[in-house]
C-alpha cells in the first residue's frame, strides 16, 4: 500500500518557521484547518491571528514585508484571492513583497462547494505579474513546500494538501523542475497536485495495455520551464493530455496549449479538468468521478487521443494504484 502521511504540513511549517527569524505565521480564523494550531499554541510570539478579515490581512502582510518579514498566510486557497484580490495586487504582488500564500483545499479537495473550492486560482495567479505558483502533489512535496516557497524572491501562492496525504515521491520540491515519472514515447500526460496520483494509476494500467506513456508531474506552475516541456512533447509520437484539479481555462492545460502554439507544435492536445463549470459539495472521489478528473477519465481521454480502446476497467485501475505507487517510490529511490 501507498504510505499515507498524517498532517505533513504541521511539522514542516514549524521546522521552517523556527529556523528563520523573519518568518511569521498569519492566520485568518482557519488555524486548525490549516494545521497551524499547535504552532499557535507553541510559538505565540511568531503567530498573528488576523481574524476573518482577509482584505486587511493582505495589506497588513504587505506592510510586514516592507518591514523585512516573510509572512506565511494560511487560509483556504479560495479566500486568499477572491475577496482580497485588489489588496493582493496592490499590497503584495506589485511591490514584490516576500509574502507566502499557503492555500489549502485546492480545487475539489473540499466538500464545501462553490464558496470553498478554489477552481480558478491558478488561472488568476498566472495572470498576476511577479507571482510564483507552486502546487503540492504528495506528502513529500507538502513537507518541502515551506522551504521552496521561502526561497522565492517575491510573492508566491502555494496549493497545499492537508490531512492524510499519500507519499508518492522521495525527493523534495526543486523549484522549476518537473518530475519525469514515466519516460515512454507514445503519448505525454501532464498532471499536477492530486491528479498526479490518478495519472499514475492510469499510466500503470495503460502500460499493461501496451501503451508507452510519458508522464510529467508539475510542482512549479509559474515560472514555467517551456524548453524542457517542448523536449518532452517532441519525444512522444502522439499527442499530449493534461489532467488538472482546476478549470481547463488558465491552468496547466492552457499552459501546455500556449507552449505548443507559441512554438508551432502541431500535435493534438486534450485538456481534462473542470470544463467551464463550478463544482458542488461532495467527497473528493465522487467529485473526481463526476467531473471527469480521475484515472478512468484520463484513460478515456487517452483512448480519444490515440483513437483506440484499451478495455481498461475500474478494477484494473484499483489494482494498478498500489503497484504504480510502489514501483515509483522504488524507482525514485535508485
Amino acid at each position: 500500500m501507498v504510505e499515507m502521511v498524517s498532517r505533513p504540513y504541521e511539522a514542516a511549517f514549524e521546522k521552517h518557521a523556527m529556523a528563520h527569524d523573519d518568518v511569521l505565521c498569519l492566520s485568518a480564523d482557519l488555524t486548525s484547518s490549516c494545521e497551524i494550531d499547535k504552532f499557535r499554541d507553541n510559538h505565540p510570539e511568531k503567530f498573528l491571528s488576523l481574524g476573518m478579515a482577509e482584505q486587511n490581512m493582505m495589506s497588513f502582510a504587505g506592510g510586514l514585508g516592507l518591514a523585512g518579514y516573510r509572512p506565511f498566510l494560511h487560509s483556504f486557497g479560495v479566500f486568499l484571492y477572491r475577496r482580497p484580490y485588489d489588496q493582493l495586487m496592490a499590497s503584495i504582488a506589485y511591490p514584490r513583497r516576500k509574502v507566502r500564500l499557503m492555500g489549502f483545499l485546492p480545487g475539489i479537495t473540499t466538500p464545501g462547494g462553490m464558496t470553498h473550492q478554489a477552481i480558478e486560482d491558478i488561472s488568476v495567479m498566472r495572470s498576476i505579474p511577479n507571482m510564483t505558483i507552486l502546487e503540492t502533489g504528495d506528502a513529500t512535496e507538502v513537507e518541502s513546500i515551506c522551504e521552496a516557497a521561502d526561497s522565492i524572491d517575491g510573492p508566491v501562492y502555494c496549493r497545499v494538501l492537508r490531512g492524510s496525504v499519500p507519499r508518492l515521491f522521495d525527493t523534495p520540491i526543486e523549484v522549476g523542475k518537473m518530475r519525469e515519472l514515466e519516460s515512454g514515447n507514445d503519448i505525454l500526460i501532464v498532471s499536477s497536485g492530486i491528479t498526479t496520483e490518478e495519472a499514475m494509476r492510469a499510466s500503470a494500467a495503460l502500460k499493461g495495455a501496451g501503451v508507452s506513456v510519458r508522464h510529467l508531474h508539475l510542482n512549479t506552475i509559474k515560472p514555467f520551464d517551456h524548453k524542457t516541456m517542448l523536449d518532452h512533447i517532441a519525444s512522444v509520437k502522439g499527442g499530449v493530455i493534461t489532467l488538472e484539479n482546476h478549470v481547463v481555462d488558465g491552468g496547466i492545460g492552457s499552459l501546455l496549449a500556449e507552449t505548443m502554439a507559441d512554438n508551432g507544435v502541431g500535435k493534438r492536445l486534450i485538456r481534462l479538468g473542470l470544463k467551464d463549470t463550478y463544482a458542488h459539495g461532495g467527497s473528493r472521489a465522487y467529485l473526481m468521478r463526476y467531473y471527469g478528473l480521475d484515472a478512468l477519465a484520463l484513460v478515456h481521454g487517452i483512448e480519444d487521443l490515440m483513437g483506440q480502446k484499451f478495455g481498461i476497467t475500474e478494477n484494473d485501475l484499483s489494482t494498478a494504484r498500489v503497484d504504480a505507487v510502489h514501483s515509483l517510490v522504488k524507482a525514485e529511490g535508485l
Binding site: 506592510g63 489588496q87 505579474p129
Partner: protein
Amino acid sequence: MEQALRNEKSTEEVALGIRRRVFEHSIRNNGGYMSQACSAAEQLAWLYNEELNLGAPTLPMIPKPFEGVPHKDNPDYHTGAGYNGPVAPDLDRLFIAPAHYALVAYATLIETGRMAPEGLEMFNKDGSSVEMIGAEHSPGMEVHNGTLGIGLSTAAGLAYGRKLRGDTGNVWVYMSDGEVQEGQTWEAIAACAHHKIDNVKAIMDVNRQQCDGAMDSVMEVGDIGRKMEEFGAKVVWVNAHSIDEMRAAVKTPHTGQPLIILANSSPFEGMPTLEERFPRLHYVRFKSEDERARFNTEIAASLGIDPIDYAH
C-alpha cells in the same frame, strides 16, 4: 540637516504655499484637485513641517523620469519614499492613503524643501514619475494607495513589524473620510486594537466629500468617531485648519491603541469661490474660459497673489 529642513517657513506659510501652488497648477491645466488643497493644506503642512521625524531627502530634487515597475528584471527599482528621507529605526514613515491627493502632497514637498518646483511641472506628463494618482515611485510615496482603504492596513503591518524590530519611529497615515465606506478600514482598526499597534498614527481629512459629491448623499457613514472608538482606536476631533489643535491632539495618550485624528475640514477653505461648485468638488474642471478667468481672478485675490498668466 534635519533641523535645517524644518521651520524655514512657518507651518501657516507652508499651508498657504500649498494652496497657491495647487491653485496655479489647476488654473494652468484647466482643472485639478483644488478642493483637496483647501481641506488638507494645514494637515500636510503640519505633518511635514512639524510633526514627522524625517531625515533629509535621499533622491534628486528634480524627480527622475519613470524607471519601470517592480520586476525581477528591474533590479534598480526604488520607491519615491526617499523624498521623505531615509529609512531608519528612529524615523517616521508616512503613507498618503488617498493617492489622488498627490498634487497636494507634491506641493507640500516643494514648500518644505524636499522637491524642486520643477517637479510639479512634470505632474501627469507621459513618462514622468510625478503621477496624477500617486504611485509607489512618485515623490513622497512608498506604497500604492490608489485603491482606497488599503493604507491603514499596510501601515498596521509595517508598524507591527517595526515594533517587533524595536524601532522607535511611528508609521503615519494620511487618510480621507470617504475611506470609511470601505470595510477594510474597519478591519484595519480592529487589527490595530487587537494587536495593540500603537505606533500607528493617522490624521483623516474629514471634508465629507467624495467623488460623487457630498458623502451623505452617496452613502451615510454615521458617527465615524464613535464607531472608530468602538473598534478600538483613540480618536480626537480637531479643526483641520487649526494647527494648534493638531499640535495638541497628537499629544493624546493612546497606549495600546492606534491614534486617529479626525480633522474637520472645509473643502473650500482659503478659496471661497469654490463653494459655487459644492457638492461636486472632487475634481474641479472649469466649465468655460469665462469661468476659468473669473476663478483665476477671485481665487488669486483670496490667496493674496496676482492672477496666473496662464495664456503663456
